[in-house]
Symmetry: C2
Subunit: 265 residues, 2 copies
Amino acid sequence: MMETAAIKSGFGRLYLIPTPLSKTGGNTSLPEATLEITRSIRHFAVENIRQAASFLQWIQHPVPEFEVQFFPLSKRTSELQLQEYVTLLLNGTDLGVLTDAGCPGVADPGADLVKQAHRFGITVVPLTGPASPILALMGLGLGGQKFAFEGYLPAKAEARATVLRALETRSAQTGSTELFMETPFRNLETLKAAAGLLRMDTSLGVAANLTSPDELIVMCEVSEWQRRKMPDIHKIPSIFGLKAAQDAGLENRLKRKAVKKKFSG
Amino acid sequence: MMETAAIKSGFGRLYLIPTPLSKTGGNTSLPEATLEITRSIRHFAVENIRQAASFLQWIQHPVPEFEVQFFPLSKRTSELQLQEYVTLLLNGTDLGVLTDAGCPGVADPGADLVKQAHRFGITVVPLTGPASPILALMGLGLGGQKFAFEGYLPAKAEARATVLRALETRSAQTGSTELFMETPFRNLETLKAAAGLLRMDTSLGVAANLTSPDELIVMCEVSEWQRRKMPDIHKIPSIFGLKAAQDAGLENRLKRKAVKKKFSG
């Protein structure tokens, strides 16, 4: 509903607050403006209370922990609970959303609450901070005119292979960069699987430990992955990306090959 | 190629530097770490020299403008030129990439240079800053477990309609949030077109003027867009998003409808 400015100005705002991806190396990724706004908020919907409290301490939130109010937020949070948070906002209280790492609502909880807030014309403010899919997209250099983030791949090898091939096909057809992730202890297994089943001329990369001093970003074609040593990404938070050679290009190459053969044979 | 640490340490680093989306309201989106690293760099590959120079002045880069070196970077930059930039890096010079607004390599130039850098084992460092697709994704609340950024829609109405319907179908089938953008003077036309042709229960939103004091984020179902006043997004940089009701859900609703009809009729 579109509210009049007068009514709307009485509402609290819903702030979406990114948190660091890495706990080493100091603050490499949060703008002072994000920290300042966060320090002014006393009510937080959080994925994990202990993590949220430790984050607020780390940014030197001026209000003592026992005076800050935390509300649980996960995919299990009921509509009724969300409605309570919305009521808080309607009554003029600012509410911040904090997840364990990265941006609320991006491969993390938060979206359901934002959706409810929009229903009531509450102002939603996404703050700037680290987003691993974007940092990976930049760092891999696979192209970001068109991209997709697939989230977690299936755990079972066969289903994972099907999805990887589908992503490659989509990339070949549309020119998109396809990003995906894994439960960290399956990172290496997944990278090996991808290097074993994708086309030789598909570009494949991994961005691990983003924003930390141990950041590692590697990208090359599948044919080279088959020769090189695997990077040390076991249990390290990582984002993977692939981009297939365009199907049109592939057709041309096949044509050229055929012509070559014709003339050489 | 994987270089040994010893050789690699002699290389310069390729820094991908985000720039503000909005010129009003001070620094709302760049972490101090991003600014500090940028101030230490003297060589920049840039989308636009004038904009880059004005950005460096704004962040109080300590080196006078005439001592900073700018190299052009766009989709027209030749392989040969990119190779020159890579040579600079191989010789130990740090190089920063600056686009006009937002993140290099995300709907902006930069990816080709990053790709070349990876071929030579040069360390690529994506810095944190504002990324309009992510801010829109957070702010719209459409869900970010799985999302795609389609880039610019086709200019012609018919082709645009085809793409919009295809995005809606993909969203219904996979549960993805679909993001796209427009040349700003076609924003309103596109929003009206989308509200006119998408399914009534598809969620549709727009995030305009992100990170600025005039930020505007609106999201509701198509049925409501048809009743409400269009927001003032003419010529305002905007990101659009849509999410369709899941096809399975739609089927269930149709089934329920059929059952209802059967029992009531």
